[in-house]
């Protein structure tokens, strides 16, 4: 085609200087891209940049809470003399501020017991959040057990699972004594051997390989 066009224009007779034919067509000597290709790539790159400039902050905004750890919170739940070794006392305190009753949670608190192999002089605060799916368990005095109303999970006096679908013992809260008041702090989970680990959501196993299958979350506090 191009040759025919040259003949028609009489360009064949004209003394033209030798020129490298574009190969592939559209590219001239020393060029690696056509003008069209440059603009295509550039406009797509700019569009991608603009899209990323909108999407990345928005997505980051939505997922940021995963990496954010709130302020450590301690709340007094009663004088030391309120709590004994052989039974629990139910306390209600605020775990999340600013949302009223929905931010409150319940713990069962007692003095630590040497008979159960615990360090003496401390306080044990067992969360009422079932380790199955998070329903509120209650301590049944007569049985000495924690019982979950939803799916029949049963835990012994220490909070170890003895029946039903739960996958690990009940969570606990850190405790300390300030000015004669027992204070409860951040939540942590325990393994079946009662070793403290970072707080896990209900339904997640703890200990051994499960520490990798249900990795600790950056939003939780280190265990005591």
């Amino acid at each position: 085609m191009a040759d025919d066009a040259n003949k028609v224009n009489g360009a064949e007779e004209a003394p033209v200087r030798e020129r490298v034919k574009p190969d592939p067509p559209g590219y001239f000597e020393g060029e690696s891209m056509t003008r069209r290709h440059v603009f295509t790539v550039a406009s797509q790159a700019l569009g991608g940049l603009a899209a990323a400039g909108i999407v990345l902050p928005a997505v980051g905004f939505a997922v940021a809470p995963i990496f954010h750890r709130g302020k450590e919170r301690w709340e007094g739940v009663g004088p030391v003399s309120d709590f004994v070794e052989d039974t629990y006392r139910q306390v209600v305190f605020t775990e999340t501020e600013g949302i009223g009753d929905a931010g409150k949670t319940t713990a069962y608190v007692r003095k630590s017991s040497e008979d159960l192999g615990e360090e003496p002089g401390k306080f044990v605060a067992v969360s009422n959040r079932c380790a199955h799916l998070g329903c509120p368990v209650r301590f049944v005095e007569a049985a000495g057990n924690f019982i979950c109303p939803c799916h029949g999970g049963v835990y012994d006096f220490q909070g170890k699972r003895i029946g039903g679908p739960p996958v690990r013992p009940l969570d606990q809260f850190q405790t300390r004594v300030r000015n004669g008041q027992v204070e409860v702090g951040p939540r942590y989970s325990v393994t079946n051997q009662m070793e403290p680990v970072r707080a896990r959501d209900p339904g997640e196993f703890t200990g051994g390989i499960w520490e990798y299958l249900y990795p600790p979350r950056p939003s939780t506090f280190p265990p005591p």
Partner: protein, 313 residues
């Protein structure tokens, strides 16, 4: 676009410039013989009121024609609205439209509920009580939204069952099946996120359990539940997060995918139910022809199996 046979368009909806002049005796022109003498029997003159009435009757059609001349949508619309459906189409084929209707009910009632609802952990329950007890018709609109959500979930499953048992997911409609499954997942997401919003005891604990079920997925589960709660515990922004997902994020995706779903339905047509067999010749073929058919073709050269059975719309 497949080449849809064009149904006859009623004269009433064709704009005047494109309309064919009516034959005498049809559509508006006086019937019978022309008057023998115009002087002795002049044609009746229409009064001004009648002319105005006629023009008024034309007005909506003119307006429609004006839009259509610029939009050129009538071809597409007639193709869509007058498309052929296969033999055997029955009431089960309305389940998809019923699901769409349920979605529209949810969308409309949801918009009006949003006018009174406050997505705040301390005020949500009070605002729902206000809607139910004090806003005129509030209980009705809330009830439509609440029960309508169950209706939509039930209908979408029946629609899925119909598609599955009729084999309507097969080639070339696999992509529509995939889109339908995504729509099902989005509908379940709507049901899950909407359940929390009344913020009573039931919705609160059901959402706690639901979030914790999400958390039991290995490796990503803990982060997923943190994402849903916006933190390690049910917090101040959990409710607003659910609200935003419920009324902004998922509905947008739903509407877009419903559009794609319907486009494919119109483009590909619907299937006949599996019990509708291929059309067979009414007269039994002579033995000689049957023998000739042994090589896979009828005598007239058409392949024996598959083609032209009228079972694909």
């Amino acid at each position: 676009m497949p080449n849809f046979p064009k149904p006859r368009i009623p004269d009433a909806i064709v704009p005047p410039p494109l309309r064919k002049p009516g034959k005498p005796g049809s559509a508006g022109t006086p019937e019978g013989q022309a008057p023998s003498d115009l002087k002795t029997a002049p044609p009746e003159r229409k009064s001004a009121g009648d002319k105005l009435l006629d023009r008024g009757k034309e007005a909506p059609i003119d307006a429609l024609g004006w839009v259509d001349q610029r939009l050129a949508a009538s071809g597409f619309l007639t193709g869509m609205l007058f498309r052929k459906v296969p033999k055997g189409t029955n009431w089960f084929y309305t389940l998809g439209s019923a699901t769409l209707f349920a979605f529209i009910v949810q969308a409309v009632t949801g918009v009006f509920l949003a006018m009174f609802y406050t997505p705040s952990a301390t005020q949500a329950y009070a605002s729902i009580s206000h809607i139910n007890n004090e806003v005129p018709l509030g209980q009705l609109v809330h009830g439509m939204h609440k029960w309508g959500s169950s209706v939509m979930v039930i209908l979408i499953f029946l629609h899925l069952g119909r598609t599955f048992f009729f084999g309507a997911y097969k080639y070339p409609r696999e992509l529509n099946w995939v889109i339908g499954v995504v729509l099902l997942i989005l509908t379940m997401t709507m049901a899950f996120t909407g359940y929390l919003l009344p913020f009573d005891q039931r919705s609160f604990w059901a959402s706690i359990v639901g979030i914790n079920i999400n958390g039991t997925g290995p490796v990503v589960g803990p982060y997923l539940s943190d994402f849903l709660r916006a933190g390690p515990e049910f917090g101040a922004t959990t409710l607003s997060r659910f609200y935003a997902i419920h009324m902004l994020l998922v509905p947008g995706a739903l509407i877009a995918l419903i559009g794609a779903h319907l486009y494919l339905v119109v483009k590909l047509g619907t299937t006949a139910p599996p019990w509708v067999r291929a059309d067979r010749p009414k007269v039994a073929a002579p033995v000689a022809q049957l023998d000739a058919g042994a090589n896979g073709h009828r005598v007239d050269g058409a392949p024996i199996s598959g083609e032209g059975n009228g079972a694909s719309g």
